[in-house]
């Protein structure tokens, strides 16, 4: 069957059919990305935290812009080559387009990878001011020593002997007792983890029998509760049983069956009570008014007494003891509730024991007080006074030093010089009031990674920084500095190392959507755009690798196909033309 209007235009539209199709599709794409850009606008305008302005390294974005623009030209040249029946040239241009697509995705992967390994921490301090300072950097490595204490491991040692090494953002908890909530039957992953960490040296055993009265024995009557519970049929798992997923499954099943039994008993009684009161008062009067009367309340109290002996009342929790106490290493995300003697896991399992020192070991490449300053200003406090109380400036390391405080003092020297220069510029231009040049919030409250490097090069010497700032010799990473291509590079630079006590770690995440709404929308839009690049490359690649047969039989059809694929490719370029300035430069 011949497909109509694949080469020649329809009379009514003046277009070949696939062109109508691609433009309809592109119109829907404009709306889709329009919606996402609107989402970006919404998140930025209403952000309740300082928006990460110009937060991305520009160079990878700039190169990717060149790559996409270049590929837009080559794809249109490929189409032109087909129109002129130059197969060889078509192949060359299409190959270049595909190479551009691969390069674009490769660079994006480099950028994503840098973000997946970059850690952010929002601090939390005890005291009158809640801190809200952010530290950014890379988490270092640690392991447990023979006493179960956390000790740092260097990168080299980790490479040589990776066993037991973890990234030093963990909760270390010496556990002596585990209590599982049977109403949440989702313990498998945790139990496996606990058993793996316990090995053969630690015994984890059930405290007391887990018994649930047998429903048939109960309903048959003739036995009191003590007899029912001590009956052989009631035993589910015996005292002293080793922790196992199978046992937990059995107990969970027994508990859930018992709970279903209890519910059905309650429902039966309730149904009977409703029938009774309907007969007593008539259907018209059964309303909220009726059930609040003493008559109903008395009936409910009577029912309650009658129900009790018919219920199985299975215990909702089971407790295991751990001998000797086991030092467990937990991911902070697994522990929604943390206290010194008790932690609660996400499946409601309660672990009793003793919280061990669990500092976060971080190589700090940036300090950000913008949120502290914002919250302080909202409450009418001097931002600098609030900042002074931050853990960043008040802590001391084991040598009694604080590199971050030194960096902050250097930054103040740099800022003083910037302010002076901006004042001079404003005076020179005769600017007054709000028109005068002033440092940005970033300038005032954020020590960026390249500033950290520059200050460190001068040994955090405040006077040297002040002098270098004044004569313009302070070396900050420029746009084309490859050593910081995708941001702070911890292989090229050594950054201040801090141990953040667990109680000061307020919120922590790598630079992924969890960290803030900026990264959420960044990954959403660039991820979707990346998928478009992949999709476009697949279609164009199909024309390149499987188009020869069509070229020989109907070259104009192939040219039309390439034009349609090319239109999609230009659209992908079009989206990036807006994405680049919005995400990288604003």
């Amino acid at each position: 069957m011949e497909i109509p209007f694949i080469v020649n235009a329809r009379k009514d539209t003046g277009l070949f059919n696939s062109k109508v199709g691609i433009w309809l599709f592109l119109a829907s794409e404009v709306t889709l990305f329009g919606g996402l850009f609107s989402g970006y606008l919404f998140l930025r305008l209403y952000a309740d935290y300082p928006w990460p302005e110009r937060a991305l390294p520009v160079l990878p974005g700039l190169i990717n812009t060149f790559i996409l623009i270049g590929s837009s030209v080559t794809v249109v040249f490929a189409w032109a080559a087909l129109k002129m029946r130059e197969w060889r040239k078509f192949q060359i241009y299409m190959w270049i387009t595909l190479i551009c697509a691969v390069l674009f995705l490769g660079l994006k992967a480099v950028e994503y990878n840098a973000k997946f390994h970059h850690q952010g921490v929002r601090l939390s301090s005890e005291g009158s001011v809640q801190d809200f300072a952010y530290l950014e950097g890379h988490v270092h490595y640690a392991k447990l020593d023979e006493n179960g204490k956390m000790v740092e491991v260097s990168k080299e040692d980790k490479k040589a002997n990776p066993e037991g090494v973890f990234s030093a953002n963990k909760i270390i908890f010496k556990a002596s007792e585990l209590t599982f909530a049977l109403k949440r039957p989702a313990h498998e992953a945790y139990v496996k983890e606990i058993l793996a960490q316990a090995g053969d040296e630690h015994k984890i055993t059930l405290i007391g029998d887990y018994r649930v009265p047998n429903a048939e024995e109960l309903l048959a009557g003739g036995k009191n509760r003590a007899q029912l519970e001590s009956s052989e049929a009631a035993l589910v798992v015996a005292d002293g049983a080793k922790l196992s997923i199978d046992d937990l499954d059995d107990m969970e099943e027994a508990f859930l069956d018992a709970r279903a039994h209890d519910k059905s008993i309650r429902t039966e009684f309730l149904r009977a009570s409703w029938s009774w009161i309907r007969d007593e008062k008539g259907i018209e009067e059964i309303s909220n008014l009726v059930i609040t009367t003493d008559l109903w309340k008395e009936r409910m109290a009577e029912d309650s007494e009658k129900i009790k002996p018919l219920m199985l009342s299975a215990p909702g929790t089971v407790t295991y003891k751990i001998e000797p106490a086991l030092t467990l290493v937990w991911d902070p995300d697994d522990i929604p509730k943390l206290a010194k003697t008790e932690i609660k896991l996400r499946d409601d399992t309660v672990v009793k024991g003793e919280l061990q020192p669990s500092p976060m070991l971080l190589g700090v490449d940036a300090i950000d007080f913008r949120h502290t300053a914002m919250r302080a200003e909202e409450e009418g406090i001097d931002p600098l006074e609030a900042i002074k109380q931050s853990w960043v400036l008040t802590h001391k390391n084991s040598k009694g030093e604080n590199d971050l405080k030194k960096a902050w003092e250097c930054h103040q020297a740099w800022l003083a010089n910037l302010t002076k220069k901006l004042d001079e510029m404003s005076d020179k231009k005769g600017l007054e009031g709000e028109d005068r040049f002033v440092p940005t919030e970033n300038d005032k409250y954020r020590v960026n990674w390249d500033q950290m490097v520059a200050y460190q090069k001068l040994d955090f010497d405040v006077e040297a920084v002040a002098a270098a700032s004044a004569d313009g010799s302070l070396q900050r990473s420029g746009l084309f500095d490859l050593s910081g291509f995708a941001g702070a590079n911890h292989n090229n630079y050594k950054f201040p190392h801090v141990e953040i006590p667990r109680e000061n770690v307020g919120f922590t995440s790598t630079f992924t959507p969890k960290w803030n709404t900026y990264y959420a929308i960044y990954f959403t839009i660039t991820g979707l755009h990346g998928l478009h690049v992949i999709g476009g490359a697949l279609v164009l690649g199909y024309y390149l690798f499987f188009g020869r047969k069509m070229y020989d039989s109907n070259p104009e059809w192939l040219a039309n196909r390439v034009e349609v694929g090319g239109l999609f490719w230009h659209f992908v370029d079009l989206v990036w033309i807006f994405l680049f300035p919005i995400l990288y430069l604003m």
């Binding site: 329009g34 919606g35 609107s38 623009i69 249109v76 129109k83 939390s124 005291g127 909202e378 109680e503």
Partner: protein, 129 residues
């Protein structure tokens, strides 16, 4: 649309000119954002920088649409489709402005959790809020 060999040869020259213009536009965007001497408005990023950046991006996008996507000589139906998409995109942005009148989200500026409280120390000492 360029269909004859002559027209296509002519169009290819135009594509190269547009390629150059797009590169210049990109360099210009980065230059005004990163070189202090070229910064418009106040020091650092502000509204004027945003407007300038978006204007340059819009000019670049227009060039791509008109020349690479051949919208400079396209049929009315295509203008209708594309125009509809753009109208819908702006409609989405208009919705954002509309959301500001939401009294539940933006009507009450009181903060549930105060930042500064001299009486009470911070409770969130173990994180995971």
């Amino acid at each position: 649309m360029a269909d004859s060999v002559e027209e296509i040869k002519k169009a290819k020259k135009l594509y190269l000119v547009i390629f150059g213009a797009l590169l210049v536009g990109t360099v210009l965007t980065v230059a005004v954002a990163t070189i202090p001497a070229l910064d418009v408005g106040g020091h650092g990023f502000d509204g004027k920088d945003a407007v300038l950046g978006l204007i340059i991006a819009s000019v670049k996008a227009t060039l791509v649409m008109l020349i690479f996507m051949h919208l400079n000589h396209e049929k009315p139906l295509i203008y209708f489709f594309y125009g509809l998409g753009i109208v819908m995109a702006f409609f989405c942005m208009w919705l954002i402005g509309w959301s500001k009148s939401d009294p539940i989200q933006y009507g009450n500026s009181e903060k549930a959790d105060g930042f500064y409280n001299p009486e009470k120390p911070a409770s969130n000492v173990h994180g995971h809020d």
